[in-house]
């Protein structure tokens, strides 16, 4: 199977079983948070996507329309992108995004992929997304008593840390 065929199969799966309507060209498909775990399970067990590749959380600030009397276009939220890969040729990467509201959390993939343990801890540490039923959701990079999540957009890069700087 070539990589294009694998991609088509992935798109067909999303459209038929997970109700995704449009797949953007320059972006990964956005799926509903409630399908997140199920999609990973189907890909792993039925299609042989066994390598856990990455999870990327990003933080979006509130967006306002300056021209239109500061009307709110989009509220503050997170987005979590996940990628898993199949073993051997064509090494296709199945990747999707999930929108997570500020007060929501997202199910962990730890029961499927052991690698989710550290990766999700890292994203929690740096961005602040919470993962449901994660066995050990502690900080990974920063000290335990650190305040704030450095990769959020409202976190200044030169935040001082007394007494060291």
């Amino acid at each position: 199977m070539t990589r294009d065929e694998a991609q088509q199969r992935f798109v067909a799966l999303l459209q038929e079983r997970f109700g995704v309507e449009e797949i953007p060209d320059d972006n990964y498909p956005l799926i509903d948070a409630k399908h997140h775990f199920e999609l990973a399970r189907v890909l792993r067990e039925e299609f042989g996507y066994r390598i856990y590749s990455f999870v990327v959380a990003s933080h979006y600030l509130e967006k306002v329309d300056a021209k239109n009397d500061n009307a709110v276009i989009d509220i503050e939220h997170y987005e979590v992108a996940t990628g898993i890969r199949c073993v051997g040729a064509p090494a296709h990467l199945a990747s999707w995004r999930v929108r997570v509201e500020l007060d929501q959390s997202i199910p962990t993939l730890f029961p499927l992929f052991a690698g989710a343990d550290w990766q999700e801890r890292e994203q929690y540490d740096l961005v602040g997304v919470r993962f449901d039923e994660h066995p050990d959701l502690r900080r990974l990079m920063m000290p335990e008593d650190w305040e704030g999540h450095p990769l959020r957009k409202d976190y200044a890069i030169e935040t001082a840390c007394p007494p060291w700087r």
Partner: protein, 278 residues
């Protein structure tokens, strides 16, 4: 936290009592020389190697440069060592450990900051988790600049340290040790960031021009940028920094072979020629 400099001693307290005994001082003169020679030439290194500079430190300890021949043996424990070489970025999480390890080293001890990260934090300087230079919490004796410094540069740094130890023991170190207090705007880099409103547009231009000259191949008029190059030098430039003023006294013979031939470079003979020509 600043370390109280007046508390640092370089010799055992008993030594001063012995020295006061009648007749001893004559014998001690030569013993003192021996001790000076010994302590300058057996600097055991505690490598505080945290990142990339640590790899360069390993290269310096390995076969090419071979620090061992100067009597500097890297040891894995602070308790056997005289010099701590901090090679790499020190983060907020690591700094308390570095301080603790420094305090575990027995006196007399010295510290070498290797690489821009240890000196000033390099370009990580204003990141939330990086310490802007280790001299904010341990006293540094020698700074070895570079990102990363060549193994030869580290070697030069250690030679300078030997020089300093000698001068301190002989009492010839006349310059005050400069340990500047951290400037108040420590966290601000000297050159503004791109988004900085105070950034000078001229800086922008200069930087891009110099970057463009670095080999963008056929797409630029290189003749404009390229300047005549000097003849390539055979030796790496380990001696680019200003050296401390060395007094004219002859040094003990032993280290004459060990030192690279920095001072022995032939003076340019231009003056002599010009005088003799007319």
């Amino acid at each position: 936290m600043a370390v109280d400099e007046s508390q640092r001693t370089y010799e055992h307290p008993l030594y001063q009592h012995v020295e006061r005994m009648p007749g001893v001082s004559v014998a001690l003169g030569s013993i003192d020389q021996l001790l000076t020679w010994g302590s300058a030439n057996s600097l055991w290194i505690f490598p505080m190697a945290t990142s990339c500079c640590g790899i360069e430190f390993m290269a310096a300890a390995a076969s090419g440069v071979d620090l061992d021949r100067m009597g500097s043996i890297p040891r894995g424990t602070p308790r056997q060592c005289d010099v701590m070489v901090v090679a790499g970025t020190i983060t907020v999480k690591m700094a308390p450990r570095v301080k603790k390890l420094w305090e575990q080293m027995p006196e007399p001890k010295w510290c070498v900051a290797m690489g821009s990260c240890a000196i000033s934090g390099d370009f990580y300087r204003d990141i939330y988790s990086v310490i802007p230079g280790i001299d904010t919490f341990v006293p540094v004796d020698v700074y070895v600049p570079g990102c990363p410094p060549n193994p030869e540069a580290l070697m030069h740094g250690l030679l300078l340290l030997q020089e300093k130890i000698r001068m301190v023991r002989e009492g010839t170190l006349t310059r005050e040790e400069v340990r500047p207090e951290s400037p108040p705007n420590l966290n601000r880099p000297a050159i503004g960031r791109l988004q900085d409103p105070e950034r000078d547009p001229l800086t922008d231009e200069e930087q891009t021009d110099s970057a463009a000259g670095l080999g963008f191949g056929d797409n630029l008029n290189l003749a404009q940028i390229r300047r005549p190059r000097p003849e390539p030098e055979l030796r790496p430039q380990v001696d680019a920094e200003p050296r401390p003023q060395v007094d004219a006294e002859p040094r003990p013979q032993v280290d004459a072979e060990l030192r690279p031939q920095v001072d022995a470079e032939p003076q340019p003979e231009v003056d002599a020629d010009e005088e003799s020509a007319p």
